[in-house]
Protein backbone atom coordinates (compact mmCIF):
# COMPACT_ATOMS: atom_id res chain seq x y z
CA UNK A 1 0.00 0.00 0.00
CA UNK A 2 1.34 3.41 -0.93
CA UNK A 3 2.04 5.78 1.96
CA UNK A 4 -0.59 8.53 2.21
CA UNK A 5 0.26 12.19 1.73
CA UNK A 6 0.38 13.88 5.13
CA UNK A 7 -0.46 17.35 6.39
CA UNK A 8 0.93 18.20 9.81
CA UNK A 9 -1.15 20.98 11.29
CA UNK A 10 0.47 23.16 13.93
CA UNK A 11 -1.61 25.94 15.49
CA UNK A 12 0.49 28.45 17.39
CA UNK A 13 -0.15 31.47 19.57
CA UNK A 14 3.07 33.23 20.58
CA UNK A 15 5.53 30.69 22.13
CA UNK A 16 8.17 31.35 19.47
CA UNK A 17 10.87 29.48 21.41
CA UNK A 18 8.71 26.39 21.73
CA UNK A 19 7.86 26.58 18.03
CA UNK A 20 11.57 26.68 17.26
CA UNK A 21 12.12 23.45 19.25
CA UNK A 22 9.04 21.80 17.73
CA UNK A 23 10.15 22.53 14.16
CA UNK A 24 13.65 21.33 15.00
CA UNK A 25 12.03 18.05 16.03
CA UNK A 26 10.51 17.75 12.56
CA UNK A 27 13.98 18.07 11.00
CA UNK A 28 15.03 14.88 12.85
CA UNK A 29 12.28 12.57 11.57
CA UNK A 30 13.00 9.03 10.39
CA UNK A 31 10.16 9.27 7.86
CA UNK A 32 10.77 10.62 4.39
CA UNK A 33 9.35 14.13 4.09
CA UNK A 34 8.54 13.68 0.39
CA UNK A 35 4.81 13.37 0.94
CA UNK A 36 4.68 15.58 4.01
CA UNK A 37 3.52 19.16 4.32
CA UNK A 38 3.87 21.11 7.58
CA UNK A 39 1.28 23.85 7.98
CA UNK A 40 1.83 26.37 10.76
CA UNK A 41 -1.22 28.51 11.56
CA UNK A 42 -0.47 31.60 13.61
CA UNK A 43 -3.55 32.34 15.68
CA UNK A 44 -3.01 36.08 16.11
CA UNK A 45 0.36 36.01 17.91
CA UNK A 46 1.79 39.23 19.25
CA UNK A 47 5.26 37.74 19.01
CA UNK A 48 6.90 37.87 15.61
CA UNK A 49 7.18 34.27 14.39
CA UNK A 50 8.31 35.05 10.85
CA UNK A 51 12.04 34.72 11.61
CA UNK A 52 11.46 31.23 13.04
CA UNK A 53 9.49 30.20 9.97
CA UNK A 54 12.11 31.66 7.63
CA UNK A 55 14.89 29.77 9.35
CA UNK A 56 13.20 26.44 8.50
CA UNK A 57 12.05 27.24 4.96
CA UNK A 58 15.02 25.51 3.37
CA UNK A 59 14.97 22.41 5.59
CA UNK A 60 11.24 21.65 6.02
CA UNK A 61 8.26 21.52 3.64
CA UNK A 62 6.68 24.42 5.48
CA UNK A 63 3.68 26.65 4.88
CA UNK A 64 2.73 29.52 7.17
CA UNK A 65 -0.59 31.31 7.54
CA UNK A 66 -1.35 34.15 9.93
CA UNK A 67 -4.89 34.71 11.24
CA UNK A 68 -6.40 37.32 13.53
CA UNK A 69 -6.99 35.75 16.98
CA UNK A 70 -9.69 33.15 16.32
CA UNK A 71 -9.16 30.22 18.68
CA UNK A 72 -7.63 26.81 18.22
CA UNK A 73 -10.62 25.25 16.43
CA UNK A 74 -10.52 27.86 13.65
CA UNK A 75 -6.72 27.69 13.44
CA UNK A 76 -6.78 23.92 12.96
CA UNK A 77 -9.63 24.01 10.45
CA UNK A 78 -7.80 26.70 8.47
CA UNK A 79 -4.60 24.69 8.39
CA UNK A 80 -6.47 21.64 7.13
CA UNK A 81 -8.33 23.64 4.49
CA UNK A 82 -5.04 25.04 3.20
CA UNK A 83 -3.60 21.55 2.70
CA UNK A 84 -4.49 18.57 0.54
CA UNK A 85 -2.93 15.64 2.43
CA UNK A 86 -4.97 12.46 2.75
CA UNK A 87 -3.86 12.10 6.32
CA UNK A 88 -3.81 14.75 9.06
CA UNK A 89 -1.44 14.83 12.02
CA UNK A 90 -2.11 17.39 14.74
CA UNK A 91 0.89 18.54 16.72
CA UNK A 92 0.74 21.71 18.80
CA UNK A 93 3.49 24.29 18.42
CA UNK A 94 4.88 23.54 21.88
CA UNK A 95 5.26 19.77 21.38
CA UNK A 96 8.59 18.35 20.31
CA UNK A 97 8.01 15.24 18.20
CA UNK A 98 10.20 12.18 18.75
CA UNK A 99 12.19 10.97 15.73
CA UNK A 100 9.62 8.34 14.74
CA UNK A 101 6.61 10.56 15.37
CA UNK A 102 5.46 10.83 11.72
CA UNK A 103 6.41 7.23 10.96
CA UNK A 104 4.34 5.87 13.85
CA UNK A 105 1.25 7.89 13.00
CA UNK A 106 1.51 7.00 9.31
CA UNK A 107 1.96 3.30 10.06
CA UNK A 108 -1.10 3.25 12.34
CA UNK A 109 -3.22 5.16 9.84
CA UNK A 110 -2.07 3.05 6.89
CA UNK A 111 -3.15 -0.13 8.71
CA UNK A 112 -6.59 1.45 9.23
CA UNK A 113 -6.75 2.48 5.60
CA UNK A 114 -6.03 -1.13 4.56
CA UNK A 115 -8.99 -2.27 6.68
CA UNK A 116 -11.16 0.60 5.45
CA UNK A 117 -11.55 1.62 9.08
CA UNK A 118 -12.36 5.08 10.43
CA UNK A 119 -9.70 5.77 13.03
CA UNK A 120 -8.38 8.40 15.40
CA UNK A 121 -4.82 7.64 16.49
CA UNK A 122 -3.96 9.04 19.90
CA UNK A 123 -0.23 9.59 20.39
CA UNK A 124 1.70 9.53 23.65
CA UNK A 125 1.96 12.91 25.35
CA UNK A 126 4.90 13.49 27.64
CA UNK A 127 5.83 16.75 29.31
CA UNK A 128 9.06 18.50 30.23
CA UNK A 129 9.46 21.33 32.69
CA UNK A 130 12.12 23.91 31.98
CA UNK A 131 12.18 27.22 33.81
CA UNK A 132 13.34 30.28 31.83
CA UNK A 133 13.21 28.54 28.48
CA UNK A 134 14.99 31.45 26.80
CA UNK A 135 18.10 30.66 28.85
CA UNK A 136 17.71 26.90 28.64
CA UNK A 137 16.94 26.12 25.01
CA UNK A 138 19.74 23.61 24.74
CA UNK A 139 18.66 21.86 27.91
CA UNK A 140 15.13 21.48 26.48
CA UNK A 141 16.55 20.33 23.14
CA UNK A 142 18.76 17.69 24.80
CA UNK A 143 15.89 16.51 27.02
CA UNK A 144 13.85 15.91 23.88
CA UNK A 145 16.61 14.24 21.87
CA UNK A 146 17.68 11.98 24.72
CA UNK A 147 14.12 11.39 25.92
CA UNK A 148 14.89 12.23 29.52
CA UNK A 149 13.68 14.53 32.33
CA UNK A 150 10.04 14.25 31.36
CA UNK A 151 6.90 12.57 32.64
CA UNK A 152 3.43 11.77 31.40
CA UNK A 153 0.89 14.39 32.54
CA UNK A 154 -1.58 13.15 35.13
CA UNK A 155 -4.64 13.47 32.88
CA UNK A 156 -2.99 11.62 30.00
CA UNK A 157 -1.81 8.83 32.30
CA UNK A 158 -5.41 8.35 33.48
CA UNK A 159 -6.83 8.33 29.99
CA UNK A 160 -4.32 5.87 28.54
CA UNK A 161 -5.82 3.34 30.98
CA UNK A 162 -8.87 3.26 28.71
CA UNK A 163 -6.77 1.27 26.21
CA UNK A 164 -5.54 -2.32 26.40
CA UNK A 165 -1.91 -3.36 25.93
CA UNK A 166 -2.35 -3.33 22.15
CA UNK A 167 -3.68 0.22 22.19
CA UNK A 168 -7.29 -0.76 21.49
CA UNK A 169 -10.41 0.25 23.37
CA UNK A 170 -14.15 -0.39 23.51
CA UNK A 171 -14.74 2.23 26.20
CA UNK A 172 -17.89 4.41 26.06
CA UNK A 173 -15.65 7.35 26.94
CA UNK A 174 -12.84 6.59 24.46
CA UNK A 175 -13.38 10.08 23.01
CA UNK A 176 -11.84 11.56 26.19
CA UNK A 177 -8.51 10.66 24.59
CA UNK A 178 -9.02 13.12 21.73
CA UNK A 179 -6.11 15.37 22.63
CA UNK A 180 -5.26 17.35 19.53
CA UNK A 181 -1.75 18.15 20.69
CA UNK A 182 -0.84 14.69 19.38
CA UNK A 183 -3.45 13.03 17.19
CA UNK A 184 -3.99 11.82 13.64
CA UNK A 185 -6.90 10.94 11.40
CA UNK A 186 -7.79 10.68 7.73
CA UNK A 187 -8.82 13.92 6.03
CA UNK A 188 -12.03 12.11 5.04
CA UNK A 189 -12.89 11.61 8.73
CA UNK A 190 -12.38 15.29 9.50
CA UNK A 191 -14.61 16.17 6.54
CA UNK A 192 -17.34 13.65 7.43
CA UNK A 193 -17.49 14.87 11.00
CA UNK A 194 -17.57 18.51 9.97
CA UNK A 195 -14.24 19.69 11.36
CA UNK A 196 -13.66 21.45 14.68
CA UNK A 197 -16.49 23.64 15.92
CA UNK A 198 -15.29 27.27 15.56
CA UNK A 199 -17.62 28.41 18.33
CA UNK A 200 -15.20 26.96 20.88
CA UNK A 201 -13.06 30.05 21.12
CA UNK A 202 -11.61 29.73 24.62
CA UNK A 203 -9.24 27.07 25.89
CA UNK A 204 -10.53 23.54 26.04
CA UNK A 205 -13.03 20.98 24.82
CA UNK A 206 -13.07 21.70 21.06
CA UNK A 207 -10.95 18.58 20.78
CA UNK A 208 -13.24 16.49 23.00
CA UNK A 209 -16.31 17.65 21.10
CA UNK A 210 -14.66 16.70 17.81
CA UNK A 211 -13.80 13.29 19.29
CA UNK A 212 -17.31 12.87 20.68
CA UNK A 213 -18.86 13.42 17.24
CA UNK A 214 -16.36 10.95 15.77
CA UNK A 215 -17.25 8.44 18.50
CA UNK A 216 -20.98 8.79 17.80
CA UNK A 217 -20.15 7.91 14.18
CA UNK A 218 -18.50 4.67 15.41
CA UNK A 219 -14.93 5.82 14.79
CA UNK A 220 -12.31 3.58 16.44
CA UNK A 221 -9.76 5.06 18.82
CA UNK A 222 -6.25 3.62 18.96
CA UNK A 223 -3.50 4.62 21.37
CA UNK A 224 -0.04 4.52 19.79
CA UNK A 225 2.43 4.88 22.64
CA UNK A 226 5.42 5.05 20.30
CA UNK A 227 4.12 8.26 18.66
CA UNK A 228 5.53 10.49 21.37
CA UNK A 229 5.66 14.23 21.49
CA UNK A 230 6.86 16.18 24.47
CA UNK A 231 4.93 19.19 25.68
CA UNK A 232 7.12 22.06 26.84
CA UNK A 233 5.13 22.97 29.94
CA UNK A 234 4.46 26.60 30.74
CA UNK A 235 3.25 28.45 33.79
CA UNK A 236 -0.33 27.72 34.59
CA UNK A 237 -3.10 29.38 36.45
CA UNK A 238 -5.41 26.57 37.48
CA UNK A 239 -8.30 28.94 38.33
CA UNK A 240 -8.25 30.27 34.78
CA UNK A 241 -8.35 26.77 33.32
CA UNK A 242 -11.26 25.80 35.55
CA UNK A 243 -13.18 28.87 34.40
CA UNK A 244 -12.53 28.00 30.74
CA UNK A 245 -13.52 24.38 31.34
CA UNK A 246 -16.87 25.49 32.78
CA UNK A 247 -17.55 27.82 29.84
CA UNK A 248 -16.56 25.25 27.23
CA UNK A 249 -18.55 22.55 28.99
CA UNK A 250 -21.71 24.68 28.95
CA UNK A 251 -21.45 25.02 25.18
CA UNK A 252 -20.56 21.34 24.74
CA UNK A 253 -23.69 20.33 26.71
CA UNK A 254 -25.82 22.78 24.77
CA UNK A 255 -24.81 20.88 21.60
CA UNK A 256 -25.06 17.37 23.08
CA UNK A 257 -27.51 17.11 25.99
CA UNK A 258 -26.55 13.56 27.01
CA UNK A 259 -25.64 12.04 30.36
CA UNK A 260 -22.07 11.51 29.15
CA UNK A 261 -21.62 15.20 28.49
CA UNK A 262 -23.60 16.35 31.54
CA UNK A 263 -21.25 14.39 33.80
CA UNK A 264 -18.08 15.44 31.97
CA UNK A 265 -17.73 18.55 34.11
CA UNK A 266 -17.76 16.55 37.36
CA UNK A 267 -15.11 14.26 35.94
CA UNK A 268 -12.91 17.12 34.74
CA UNK A 269 -13.17 18.93 38.07
CA UNK A 270 -12.09 15.80 39.90
CA UNK A 271 -15.33 15.00 41.77
CA UNK A 272 -16.31 11.97 39.67
CA UNK A 273 -13.80 9.18 39.10
CA UNK A 274 -12.84 7.94 35.65
CA UNK A 275 -14.28 4.52 36.54
CA UNK A 276 -17.61 5.95 37.75
CA UNK A 277 -17.79 8.12 34.68
CA UNK A 278 -17.20 5.16 32.37
CA UNK A 279 -19.94 3.17 34.13
CA UNK A 280 -22.42 6.04 33.76
CA UNK A 281 -21.57 6.48 30.09
CA UNK A 282 -21.91 2.73 29.44
CA UNK A 283 -25.59 2.91 30.43
CA UNK A 284 -26.14 5.36 27.61
CA UNK A 285 -23.80 4.11 24.87
CA UNK A 286 -24.91 0.70 23.72
CA UNK A 287 -22.10 0.06 21.23
CA UNK A 288 -19.38 0.28 23.88
CA UNK A 289 -18.00 -1.93 26.66
CA UNK A 290 -16.20 -0.51 29.74
CA UNK A 291 -12.46 -1.10 29.96
CA UNK A 292 -11.82 -0.18 33.60
CA UNK A 293 -12.07 -1.97 36.91
CA UNK A 294 -15.08 -0.33 38.66
CA UNK A 295 -13.54 -1.07 42.05
CA UNK A 296 -10.75 1.42 41.43
CA UNK A 297 -11.13 5.17 41.72
CA UNK A 298 -8.93 7.55 39.73
CA UNK A 299 -9.57 11.26 39.62
CA UNK A 300 -8.38 14.19 37.53
CA UNK A 301 -6.05 16.25 39.73
CA UNK A 302 -4.55 18.68 37.24
CA UNK A 303 -6.81 20.43 34.77
CA UNK A 304 -4.13 22.01 32.60
CA UNK A 305 -2.98 19.45 30.04
Amino acid sequence: MQKPSVDIVIPIYNQSLSLQLTLEGFTRQTASMDNVNIIVVDDGSQEDLSHIIQSFQSTLPLQYFALPRSGRAVARNTGIEKGTGEMLIFCDGDRIPCETFIEEHVTAQTKAQDKNQSLLVVGQVDEMYVSHLEQNMDKARQNAINQRHRRTPQYCKLIYNLFDQHGNTTSPIAWLSTLTGNLSCARALWENIGGFDPLFREWGFEHFEFGYRAFLEHTSFVYCKQAINTHIAHHRNNDMYIQHIKQSHAYFYEKHATTSIAKLLDFMLGTLSLEQYEELAAQEVKHAIPMLNPNQQSFVRIQNF
Binding site: M128, Y129, V130, S131, R148, H149, R151, A233, H234, H235
Partner: protein, 80 residues
Protein backbone atom coordinates in the same frame (compact mmCIF):
# COMPACT_ATOMS: atom_id res chain seq x y z
CA UNK B 1 23.30 10.76 52.18
CA UNK B 2 19.80 10.24 53.61
CA UNK B 3 16.59 10.86 51.74
CA UNK B 4 15.99 14.29 53.29
CA UNK B 5 19.45 15.48 52.28
CA UNK B 6 18.90 14.27 48.73
CA UNK B 7 15.54 16.05 48.53
CA UNK B 8 16.95 19.30 49.91
CA UNK B 9 19.84 19.11 47.48
CA UNK B 10 17.40 18.74 44.58
CA UNK B 11 15.51 21.76 45.93
CA UNK B 12 18.69 23.82 46.11
CA UNK B 13 20.81 25.43 43.41
CA UNK B 14 22.58 22.07 43.05
CA UNK B 15 19.30 20.63 41.78
CA UNK B 16 16.64 22.78 40.15
CA UNK B 17 16.20 25.43 42.86
CA UNK B 18 17.36 28.99 43.30
CA UNK B 19 18.87 28.98 46.83
CA UNK B 20 22.04 27.42 48.28
CA UNK B 21 21.53 24.14 50.15
CA UNK B 22 22.23 25.85 53.52
CA UNK B 23 19.19 28.09 53.09
CA UNK B 24 16.68 25.26 52.68
CA UNK B 25 14.78 24.39 55.89
CA UNK B 26 12.01 22.11 57.14
CA UNK B 27 9.45 24.78 57.94
CA UNK B 28 9.59 26.60 54.57
CA UNK B 29 7.15 26.00 51.75
CA UNK B 30 7.98 25.79 48.04
CA UNK B 31 7.17 29.45 47.41
CA UNK B 32 9.47 30.52 50.26
CA UNK B 33 12.40 28.95 48.43
CA UNK B 34 11.62 30.57 45.10
CA UNK B 35 9.61 27.85 43.35
CA UNK B 36 6.61 28.33 41.08
CA UNK B 37 4.37 25.68 39.50
CA UNK B 38 6.76 25.04 36.60
CA UNK B 39 9.90 24.75 38.72
CA UNK B 40 7.96 22.54 41.13
CA UNK B 41 7.21 20.05 38.34
CA UNK B 42 10.86 20.16 37.30
CA UNK B 43 11.65 19.13 40.88
CA UNK B 44 9.06 16.32 40.75
CA UNK B 45 10.71 14.84 37.63
CA UNK B 46 14.18 15.09 39.19
CA UNK B 47 12.86 13.50 42.36
CA UNK B 48 11.30 10.58 40.47
CA UNK B 49 14.46 9.99 38.46
CA UNK B 50 16.86 10.33 41.38
CA UNK B 51 14.94 8.21 43.91
CA UNK B 52 13.35 5.94 41.28
CA UNK B 53 9.88 6.50 42.71
CA UNK B 54 6.50 7.54 41.35
CA UNK B 55 5.28 10.68 43.06
CA UNK B 56 1.60 10.27 44.05
CA UNK B 57 -0.98 12.41 42.23
CA UNK B 58 -1.81 14.19 45.49
CA UNK B 59 1.64 15.76 45.39
CA UNK B 60 1.45 17.19 41.87
CA UNK B 61 0.09 20.61 42.80
CA UNK B 62 2.37 23.19 44.38
CA UNK B 63 0.76 24.30 47.66
CA UNK B 64 1.51 27.05 50.13
CA UNK B 65 0.24 25.00 53.07
CA UNK B 66 2.69 22.15 52.49
CA UNK B 67 6.10 22.51 54.14
CA UNK B 68 9.32 20.95 52.98
CA UNK B 69 9.08 18.64 56.00
CA UNK B 70 5.68 17.46 54.69
CA UNK B 71 7.25 16.83 51.28
CA UNK B 72 9.98 14.68 52.81
CA UNK B 73 7.29 12.67 54.64
CA UNK B 74 5.20 12.22 51.46
CA UNK B 75 8.24 11.17 49.47
CA UNK B 76 9.15 8.62 52.13
CA UNK B 77 5.76 6.99 51.58
CA UNK B 78 5.93 7.09 47.78
CA UNK B 79 6.13 3.79 45.96
CA UNK B 80 9.03 2.67 43.84
Amino acid sequence: MDKKEIIFQLLSKDGCGTLPYEQIHDDQNMYDIGFDSLRYMEFIVLLEETLEITVPDEMLDIRADVTLKDIVTMVSHAEA
